[in-house]
């Protein structure tokens, strides 16, 4: 039982990290960035390349090195997200929403098959596998690496939440999400803030990519497809555009899958996840913590 909860929270924290970028981008420019899952894939490959470049990793050094690689990957994936917005989305800012959506799907394919062209179609084995010393926590067996990865995910999520609720930059993001024109009249450079939002969201996806690579041990150019859809589901469950809601949605989806797999069998996992998506879209499209706007006109 505890094991199921733990597995759910573990997978859920990956979903949450990826879902946050989805949610932030949707919140600020109302775009479902279908290429977001591919930034996660890109992150995994960037981490792979960096690890390959620094050579072999002794397992005693694995953890600190992995954290350094994680940071470097976050920066690079963040910049890739900024470039994506600049090239593919900004020129269409005033175009109909559908054009933007189709462009996002196109960007997703471009990233996937661009990566296939660059790195080949075969799965790559991640050069870092953290040997797990397992520990007992409340009757569940977990490895140290799981604890560290969840710890990192939690730190990133708390950091993001503080940034958005407490800082000048976060206020500007929330203001632009509500009304970009008026925000610009306050002296806010709307394009710059949108770029920084893409940077943050993509960096989080990149972090999740490296973490997934190190954990599952195998990456391929299509790995972002399914998790992109799962992250979308998580965002919808929590309330897309709402940051704490999205984190909650990610964790909940992880838990649902964990228990669903246990009861129904592994082959039902994705059926279960997307069934929940359909359920939420029909019954509660604003999600658990979706924006309830109190407004007087």
């Amino acid at each position: 039982m505890t094991q199921l909860v733990w597995n759910g929270l573990f997978v859920g924290s990956f979903y949450a990290l990826v879902a946050l970028g989805y949610s932030m981008v949707y919140g600020i420019i109302k775009l479902l960035n279908f290429a977001h899952g591919d930034l996660y894939m890109l992150g995994a490959f960037v981490g792979f390349a960096i690890l390959g470049a620094v050579g072999g990793v002794s397992s005693s050094m694995a953890l600190p090195l992995l954290l350094v690689v994680l940071l470097a990957t976050m920066v690079l994936t963040g910049l890739a997200g900024v470039a994506l917005e600049r090239i593919a989305y900004r020129p269409l800012r005033r175009a109909p929403r559908l054009s933007l959506l189709i462009t996002a799907v196109g960007a997703s394919f471009a990233l996937e098959y661009g990566m296939r062209a660059a790195a080949g179609a075969d799965p790559r084995v991640y050069p870092v596998r953290l040997g797990g010393t397992s520990v007992e926590v409340l009757g569940a067996r977990l490895t140290l690496q799981q604890l560290v990865l969840v710890g990192v995910a939690v730190v990133l999520m708390i950091g993001l939440n503080l940034l958005i609720t407490r800082t000048r930059e976060g206020r500007a993001m929330r203001a632009i999400a509500l009304d970009p024109r008026t925000s610009s009249l306050m002296g806010i450079d709307v394009n710059a803030v949108i770029s920084r939002t893409f940077f943050l969201g993509s960096a989080l996806a990149g972090a999740a990519g490296v973490m997934a690579g190190a954990y599952y041990g195998k990456i391929d150019f299509l790995m972002g497809f399914l998790i992109g859809l799962k992250a979308f589901t998580a965002a919808v469950i929590g309330g897309i555009g709402n940051i704490p809601g999205t984190m909650l949605g990610g964790l909940l989806l992880g838990l649902l899958e964990s228990f669903g797999t246990f009861w129904l069998g592994g082959e039902w996992r994705d059926v279960f996840a997307f069934g929940v998506l359909i359920l939420f879209l029909t019954v509660r499209p604003t999600g658990l913590l979706g924006e309830r706007v109190t407004e007087r006109v």
């Binding site: 206020r171 306050m186 007087r296």
Partner: protein, 235 residues
């Protein structure tokens, strides 16, 4: 302080401004009057960079700003309070005011300016933790103006601050504007409520179909039969 010279704006096929010119001297309140669709809001939006003009130029403090982007223009101290208040509805009153201080790097200075706004508008202080969207229309207008004050403007562009407000509230908004002006901020005031605007303005312009048809000191405009008939509800 502000010179608009021969400004033209097109929206698709619509010619919204036709060679509009006006000036504002430091310390003035200038009223811009006219009916719906005359081009008042377009004028403000062209000055603040929200819409691009197709001809003419805008000069602020001796520097041409015609092609500048809105946030750059706001940075120079020319601040536009748009029509319909445009308060950030899910942000608190306090956060709305903090956004006004976005460009101010000095935290202490932002706090000082916000405190000043709270002194001036105690209602906002009472509601500082409330979401902007829950305020009444008059309070939202006060918040929109307060937010603009935190930016430290030298020229305020106010678009229909009296819109949808009860007469008593209109009076207090106008009093607030006159008070802000008395402390040295110039104001370009767009109004359909010509009576209220001409009470506090020094000068005024009347525009029709995107062109200036009349201008002069506010006292003269109040007496002008054409203004009285068209905008002050006849005699």
């Amino acid at each position: 302080m502000l010179e608009i010279d021969g400004l033209d704006v097109h929206y698709g096929g619509v010619h919204a401004l036709r060679g509009l010119s006006l000036t504002i001297a430091p310390g003035e309140i200038v009223a811009l009057l006219g009916n719906n669709g005359a081009g008042k809001t377009t004028t403000l939006s062209a000055v603040s960079g929200l819409v691009r003009s197709t001809a003419g130029k805008v000069v602020f403090d001796g520097r041409e700003i015609t092609r500048d982007r809105p946030h750059k223009i706001a940075e120079r101290g020319l601040v536009h309070v748009p029509e319909g208040r445009r308060v950030f509805s899910t942000l608190t009153v306090h956060e709305n005011l903090q956004l006004g201080g976005y460009l101010v790097r000095d935290q202490a200075e932002i706090r000082k300016r916000i405190e000043r706004v709270y002194e001036l508008l105690p209602r906002l202080a009472e509601r500082r933790a409330q979401q902007g969207g829950t305020l009444s229309g008059g309070e939202q207008q006060m918040l929109a103006i307060g937010r603009a004050l935190v930016t430290g403007p030298r020229l305020l562009l106010l678009d229909e601050p009296s819109m949808g407000l009860a007469p008593l509230v209109v009076a207090s908004v106008m009093e607030l504007i006159a008070g802000i002006n008395a402390e040295g901020t110039s104001v370009l005031l767009v109004e359909q409520n010509a009576t209220a605007a001409l009470k506090i303005a020094h000068r005024g312009y009347v525009i029709e179909n995107g062109e200036c048809v009349l201008d002069g000191p506010a006292a003269d405009l109040r007496e002008d039969p054409r203004v009285v008939e068209a905008y002050l509800g006849g005699v």
